[in-house]
């Protein structure tokens, strides 16, 4: 099912020579641009592709929703229209990221600037379950992003969260992880409050971009350096593919009653295809049911 301006969707499909006659289109003429306040999704934004899509998801017309639209609006709409799983304090935005080893998940990567230790503990569980069920990692290593490995490091929030995670039998807690170890993939799940998580993901992006630019200009320097590129091209291509986050799809908003995937704003067809595949796997894994059941049980205990 596609949501958005039916006219524009058909025009785009025609242009690309695609037959989309088997897909249902839910017309939505409203426009939700990056300048619109995220909370408008509950009011003036209801008639946009985002609003119509989230409403359709909430009312059971679909199993998952994939969007590359405004992150803030997806968060607000996901939480208020699709709603949280009972017992979940706040949904978290989880980013699947490449490392020099295997990919890992970082959550919260920006949905909640302020967190409590209970929220961080839920994020740890949600991230662990995601890596196990959707990324096929058995017994994922869960680490808490912190400024030192010792249990006494960081703010009181982090010291208390460490204690809760250590005693949580549902996860494989491996302790604190310093930011310098994050790019090496020393944990499968990295837990942080949304402010810190957002800093981590954007530093990763910024430093990688800055260094890639520098390396590029080294190769562009002169005729000899350009020629040299040919000798490392296959290795460079492998490296680029390893670091290509688009293959992992988008960032799932975990903790909502149904699957919501926030695709990167710069998603191309390849990234979208992978985000949709990720949504299929998410739904087929029974992720939300497992979370709901686990929360019911821990409440009964």
């Amino acid at each position: 099912m596609l949501t958005g301006s039916e006219k524009e969707i058909k025009k785009a499909a025609d242009k690309a020579g695609l037959d989309i006659s088997s897909l249902e289109i839910k017309n939505a003429d409203g426009i939700f641009d990056m300048e619109t306040a995220p909370t408008e999704i509950m009011k003036s934004g209801r008639g946009t592709s985002l609003g119509v899509g989230l409403d359709a998801l909430a009312s059971g017309e679909g199993d998952a929703f994939v969007s590359a639209g405004s992150t803030g609006a997806v968060l607000v709409g996901g939480t208020l229209i699709v709603k949280r799983i009972k017992g979940i304090k706040r949904p978290a935005l989880a980013a699947v990221m490449p490392s020099s080893d295997k990919p890992f998940i970082l959550l919260d990567s920006g949905a909640n600037a302020e967190c409590t230790e209970k929220m961080l503990t839920q994020f740890a569980y949600l991230g662990s379950l995601y890596m196990e069920k959707i990324m096929d990692v058995p017994s994922p290593r869960v680490a808490l992003a912190n400024i030192g490995v010792e249990r006494t490091k960081g703010t009181p929030l982090y010291v208390e969260t460490y204690e809760l995670l250590e005693n949580d039998e549902k996860i494989n807690f491996v302790g604190n992880i310093e930011a310098r170890d994050i790019p090496f993939g020393r944990a499968d799940v990295v837990v942080a409050d949304g402010f810190t998580g957002n800093m981590i993901i954007k530093m990763y992006e910024g430093v990688a971009k800055s260094l890639t630019n520098e390396i590029k200009s080294v190769f562009m320097k002169n005729a000899l350096s350009k020629l040299s590129y040919l000798g490392v091209k296959s290795g460079m291509d492998e490296f680029k593919e390893k670091m290509n986050y688009k293959k992992y799809g988008g960032a799932p908003l975990v903790g909502t009653r149904k699957c919501i995937i926030k695709a990167h704003g710069s998603s191309d067809a390849y990234a979208f295809k992978n985000a949709i595949g990720q949504a299929v796997k998410y739904v087929e894994s029974g992720f939300t049911d497992i979370v709901a059941k686990s929360l019911r049980e821990s409440k009964e205990e």
Copy 2:
């Protein structure tokens, strides 16, 4: 003046063929290793090179102190032995970092995991003054590390700090900076609480190290790729030099009554020479007097 085991210092100088007869040596036989709790600097650590050096500095036997020892002990000793400038809430550790443009300073890079908006405002002023007086940057651009550029972004601490900085006539505040823009040098001074600042600096270090390793292995792949390295060697060397943080010396602990420079634990002779040069410039600039005078004036206002 050198502090440490006189016997060991003389042995090392002999080995290196150095004449250190013009230097005063303050003997200190105690050992402060990385496992010792930083607060021990006030007790059992007083007889170490760190303790003896900070005591000498505090009592006026020197103008500046440079050490590559335990960061925690330098922070505690700097604050409690050398003491804060009157009116300074908490000293901050400032890291001078390379960018794809000019170097910038990040503070607090780890001294205070928890901060107030008043502390962050002082850090902004101290960083700005440092860049102006010691790094020769006129009217340094001061930015607040945040998860978005809008003034409403981040935790209440960051929203309130934004407002204070905006109204601070002593600095050139350019607004929030997102982490992805930090490596591009879009600010001369980046202000953050010590938890966030530590995450930023260590992500920078980690991502740079991880990507450098990847690029290295691309060149080491086979005979052709090794040969190709020769064609980009000069460009790669320039790139390495640009990113070499050792040329900036160490991280000053700003806000103490006298100059204290924390050199990186892995400092070599080149890094130490630069840290000492940095200390000379710090002292000659009259940095601490300017700060003290400015704080007295703003109190009188």
